[in-house]
Amino acid sequence: MTRYFSEDHEWIEVEGDLGTVGITDYAQGQLGDITFVEVPAEGASVSKGDSVSVVDSVKAASDVYTPVSGTIAAVNEALADQPELVNTEAETGGWLFRVTLSDAAELGTLMDEAAYKSYVDSL
């Protein structure tokens, strides 16, 4: 399993051709208390960079962009009742959706954990 990060503060953990996507702990900290999460429709075909999900916090509604192209394989149903999971477990239980990758080469455009950490430090 390998984890990648985007400049828009999404993480994706890839196992085979299946990627699990969420927002990073840094992102949830910036957004503040999450009040609602809109997840994509299962089966939807998405392209890298598409706005596929919305995270509402007490401060703002923020788009979440898919870091890879593919098909939405699953969504995190638990977020409907517990949007706070994105705050408490941003990079584990607060995942947003799973996507079946159509082009694994896109992962090459993303950052690894060390690169993301220095990216965040530079902000």
């Binding site: 910036q30 009040t35 007490v58 949007p83 706070e84």
Partner: protein, 532 residues
């Protein structure tokens, strides 16, 4: 800079603050608590004397007879009046002090407007009355339409939209109709990051795909990025000018020319028109459609103070598609409403209607009163004072609160600060809540999104220098406390009728119905929703 507000008035709070002991009534002096109307009322009381029905209801209606008492609070008239008056004393209003909400233009509502709107010929007319009996009211609509066209340099105006976002929808539906007439199916609307939040929502609601245009480091539209997005799928662009960073978009003409060359239309969000009224005509900037919030620029009451009105001015290109109705003057001098698509009067292509009747008569009367009482020179002064006041706030506070675009030149009608530089753990929310303790309504917070921890202050043109100095002194004092790490700010407000509310719980588990009486169908109990 000298100590701010050195000679300004400051209230002496004395021993105010936490109550020292409980009173038996729950009220503290003139700080009045108030129960919910359901808790005050009872089913045996009524504010009016209703006769017992003299005969049984018609047979066909009997199946609709109520089987139980309706769940109404049951209050007498004096109880009702006191209930709402007591609640109003816990609230804040533009008649009490500044309301510095950025991009909202919460300015004074002149009393002359109210006097005119209450004239029976305006206040007591009915939209179904014969038009010959409401010629004066129709003339108000006609005159206001003329003024809006003149002030904006546009070809036409649709008067009926009832609010800013409704006006945006009207503008986009005009664009859709114009594209249909051209036989084109463009489906993308470009919206800069510095636009009002309603703009992308409106575009999506109207069935367009929204693509975002980034802002430059100077807080303005990235013209090169916008031009790169133009193409055969772009129906148009929605630009807020002045934008939500409080800055004028000087490249508007260049943007409009590029959009037009690519076959698109330019929608301008006119919510911030008070900063440029009498100075700039949007028609000269190449705008095709712009709504004008009468409840902002033209001082009609805002929000709960009364219905809004958002007339939309239109260019030659979009005018034929404007929604009905229209006020037109006949050859004999009489005014009538065009209510149907009508080729003879140039409205064969109208896209339909936005509202059932003719718009907000009360708002039209107030706005025209405001315009006529100011005159052209007075309206220019409105824009000058709006800009002057905002720059005064900006320059008076930028040494304590970072102003991200202070180097981009003077701001327009609103000053934008960020919470960078406050002590660790302190943010915009603490400043906003602290302002409540200081006796002010907070500014707009965390918007625009392009600035982290944004504080958007629109003082408006109707605040005096003395009033601004009081606000500035409070804002500076709060910034100093937040920089020094004054923990008491985290629990502000301390002196308001309610302390800091749990906004997260309110958003996650909203309680939207009265919880007092179990057994009303559909009413969840407090335990079910996790409240207490």
């Amino acid at each position: 800079m000298n100590a701010p507000n050195a000679s300004g008035w400051r209230p002496s709070m004395g021993e105010a603050g936490e109550a020292k002991f409980a009173t038996s009534s729950g009220d503290y002096g003139l700080m009045l608590e108030e129960a919910l109307s359901f808790e005050l009322g009872s089913a045996d009381k009524c504010g009016v004397d209703i006769d017992e029905p003299s005969r049984a209801p018609a047979a066909g209606l009997s199946k609709f007879l109520r089987k139980s008492t309706p769940a109404l609070p049951g209050l007498t008239e004096p109880e009702t009046v006191r209930h709402y008056t007591r609640l109003s004393r816990q609230n804040y209003a533009i008649d009490l002090g500044p309301f510095p909400l950025g991009s909202c233009t919460m300015k004074h509502n002149p009393r002359l407007n109210e006097k005119m709107a209450r004239l029976p010929g305006f206040a007591d007319v009915h939209p179904m009355q014969p038009q010959t009996t409401v010629q004066g009211a129709l003339e108000v609509i006609e005159q206001l339409a003329d003024w809006l066209i003149t002030l904006t340099g546009m070809a036409s105006v649709a008067m009926s939209p009832k609010a800013g976002a409704h006006g945006e929808l009207c503008g986009l539906l005009c664009i859709r109709a114009a594209l249909d007439a051209r036989g084109e199916t463009r489906d993308v609307v470009l919206v800069p990051e510095s636009a009002h939040g309603t703009n992308p929502a409106t575009a999506a609601f109207a069935g367009f795909k929204v693509e975002s245009i980034p802002a430059t480091p100077a807080g303005r539209v990235d013209v090169a990025a916008l031009k790169a997005k133009l193409g055969p799928n772009v129906a148009g662009v929605m630009i807020t000018n002045p934008n939500t960073c409080g800055l004028f978009e000087p490249d508007m003409r260049e943007i409009a020319d590029a959009v037009h060359a690519a076959g698109g239309y330019v929608y301008c969000d006119g919510a911030n028109f008070n900063a440029i009224v009498g100075k700039v005509r949007p028609g000269d900037l190449g705008v095709d459609a712009m709504h004008i919030n009468l409840h902002k620029t033209f001082s009609t009451p805002h929000g709960g103070g009364g219905p809004g009105a958002g007339p939309v001015v239109l260019s030659e290109a979009l005018a034929p598609f404007a929604p009905l109705p229209f006020v037109t003057r006949g050859a004999d001098g009489s005014i009538h409403l065009v209510e149907e698509e009508n080729a003879a009067e140039g409205h064969a292509q109208a896209f339909g209607r936005m509202v059932a009747f003719h718009g907000q008569m009360g708002m039209f009367t107030r706005a025209l009163t405001y315009i006529l009482s100011h005159g052209a020179d007075g309206l220019r002064t409105v824009a000058e004072d709006a800009v002057l006041n905002a720059n005064y706030v900006l320059r008076s506070c930028e040494d304590l609160l970072p102003a991200p675009f202070a180097d981009s030149g003077p701001c327009m009608h609103e000053a934008l600060f960020s919470d960078a530089g406050l002590a660790e753990g302190f943010s915009t929310l603490d400043i906003a809540k602290g302002l409540i303790d200081e006796g002010f309504h907070p500014m707009t917070v965390y918007f625009p999104l392009v600035v982290k921890g944004a504080m958007l202050v629109e003082p408006t043109e109707t605040e005096s220098k003395a009033g601004l100095d009081r606000f500035i002194a409070s804002l500076r004092s709060l910034a100093e406390r937040a920089k020094a790490g004054d923990e008491s700010l985290h629990s502000a407000p301390h002196f308001a009728p309610r302390r800091r509310l749990d906004e997260t719980l309110a958003a996650r588990k909203p309680v939207l119905v009265w919880q007092g009486e179990p057994g009303i169908p559909g009413t969840p109990s407090l335990s079910e929703i996790g409240g207490s």
